[in-house]
């Protein structure tokens, strides 16, 4: 795993654009996967994380 990070760091010397793209793809990919995993875990805890009645709804137009 550490070899991947070393390789991305060394890539900067030969291909800056690819280095930037890999940073972006790694962070975005990891963020997406973690968001989905976290969603599953939160639901398993029994916490209701769906839509709920917001306290500001009576101040919005059309209420």
């Amino acid at each position: 795993m550490y070899e991947y990070f070393e390789w991305v760091a060394s890539l900067h010397k030969t291909n800056k654009i690819m280095s930037g793209l890999l940073v972006l793809v790694t962070m975005a990919g990891m963020g997406t996967i973690l968001a989905l995993i976290a969603d599953i875990f939160i639901r398993l805890t029994g916490i209701n994380v769906g839509s709920y009645k917001k306290e500001y709804e009576d101040q919005l137009p059309g209420h």
């Binding site: 550490y2 990070f5 070393e6 991305v8 760091a9 060394s10 900067h12 010397k13 800056k16 654009i17 280095s19 930037g20 793209l21 890999l22 940073v23 972006l24 790694t26 962070m27 975005a28 990891m30 963020g31 997406t32 973690l34 968001a35 989905l36 995993i37 976290a38 969603d39 875990f41 939160i42 916490i47 209701n48 994380v49 769906g50 839509s51 709920y52 917001k54 306290e55 500001y56 101040q59 919005l60 137009p61 059309g62 209420h63």
Partner: protein, 405 residues
């Protein structure tokens, strides 16, 4: 110990995880966290500032996906407003960055930027705290809870003035009509300030969405985090191209942030918007305090900074490498500075100025870290209190249902 391949820093993994967790909680709760929390925290643990800024930007790109996903599920995100703001943000950032370059050429960048930052932070702290105390006063007088304040005179005037200037769109989340131009205007203003101050923009975007567009607090937080996904991605990419992102550090922080963000975002379900504003005001105050301490530290550098950089240049050390040495708070960096100040320049008065600089820099970092830990603890307390109350209500409703049967 983890070795950072680009900056050469060796760091333990657990401070990165803890920083990520804290900024995940705080960021998920009110959309703040990057510039004022992560970069000083990383700097205290030995990261050179330029790598701290870049690594933070990259991790924000991932963290904001986690936070936005949860806020989206709660119905706190207006993607349309976020997209239109983004159009303004990119142009605003470019203009702000050009102004910063101009100030830099005049030699005014450092102090001017810090003074603007201080004034901005103090104004936001003062205004939001005044608003919160005003809401509490109204509660005492009327006996009715003030849960959030949606809109104000200026936002209503802006919406009414621009609502007939096409293109106009209807936002389902806030049930309001917005002119595209008002969203672009907010984006330009936030982008300009972000460009000139060198910050991520969340600090100003949330209040701008609340006070200029008149959005509810939670929708402002969710929409801000959604936009940060794109501006963070752009920042991560550009800093990645520049070779300043320590990807392994960003990934470890993201692991912590992914957990912390769940706590911070879920907590918004259990608190009122006005409470989010109070916590935001407190965060602005501590950010203001840390910038003041940084400014005091900067005053002490003026006696020796130019001379030491000239000596470093004579030894072939320039640019980022020179800034890393003069700005370092690690034992190795301090030893190098001791050599140039005492052994080479033979100036003990510079050495005492350098030590005062270190003292105020460290104090600023400690203030921010302590504030972040305190805010995290408070947010977690609100979260668990809210969950306990919800479960008690569910049990009571079930018991009532069974009694009726």
């Amino acid at each position: 110990m983890i070795h950072m391949p680009l900056s050469g820093v060796d760091m333990m993994w657990w401070p990165l995880l803890l920083i990520g967790f804290t900024v995940g909680v705080v960021g998920g709760y009110f959309g703040l966290g990057g510039a004022w929390l992560v970069t000083p925290a990383l700097n205290i643990f030995g990261f050179p500032m330029v790598y701290a800024v870049a690594t933070d930007m990259a991790h924000v790109a991932g963290k904001s996906i986690v936070s936005s996903f949860r806020h989206w599920k709660f119905g706190h995100v207006s993607a349309a407003i976020a997209f239109f703001m983004l159009i303004g943000t990119f142009s605003g950032v470019e203009v702000g960055a050009q102004c910063l370059m101009w100030l830099n050429r005049k030699g005014l960048a450092g102090p001017v930027v810090r003074y603007i930052y201080m004034v901005l932070l103090f104004c936001m702290f003062f205004f939001m705290l005044k608003e919160y105390l005003g809401a509490r006063k109204i509660e005492k007088e009327t006996g009715q809870a003030v849960k959030d304040i949606v809109g104000n005179r200026f936002s209503r005037w802006l919406t009414d003035t621009l609502k007939d200037i096409p293109p106009v769109f209807y936002c389902k989340v806030t049930r309001m009509k917005f002119s595209l131009w008002s969203c672009v205007f907010v984006g330009v203003v936030c982008g300009f300030v972000a460009g000139i101050l060198g910050i991520g923009g969340g600090l100003l975007r949330v209040p701008s969405l609340i006070y200029i567009l008149g959005m509810p607090t939670k929708v402002a937080v969710g929409t801000d985090l959604f936009e940060v996904m794109f501006s963070g991605a752009y920042g991560g990419f550009t800093y990645g191209v520049k070779g300043k992102v320590e990807l392994i550090a960003a990934c470890i922080m993201l692991l912590g942030a992914a957990v912390g963000a769940q706590f911070g975002t879920v907590c918004t379900k259990y608190v009122y918007g006005i409470t989010i504003r109070l916590v935001y005001a407190i965060a602005c105050f501590f950010a203001f305090a840390s910038v003041v301490l940084k400014q005091v530290a900067w005053f002490y550098t003026q006696s020796y900074d130019k001379a030491v950089k000239a000596l470093l240049k004579a030894d072939g050390i320039t640019g980022d490498k020179a800034n890393i040495i003069t700005g370092s708070i690690t034992p190795e960096g301090i030893e190098k500075m001791r050599h140039y100040i005492l052994d080479v320049s033979k100036k003990p008065e510079w050495w005492s100025d350098y030590q005062m600089n270190l003292f105020y820099t460290n104090l600023g970092g400690i203030v921010v870290l302590t504030a972040a830990c305190g805010l995290t603890a408070f947010i977690l307390y609100l979260l668990f209190k809210g969950i306990a109350k919800e479960r008690a209500e569910i049990r009571a409703a079930q018991a009532q249902g069974q009694a009726k049967l």
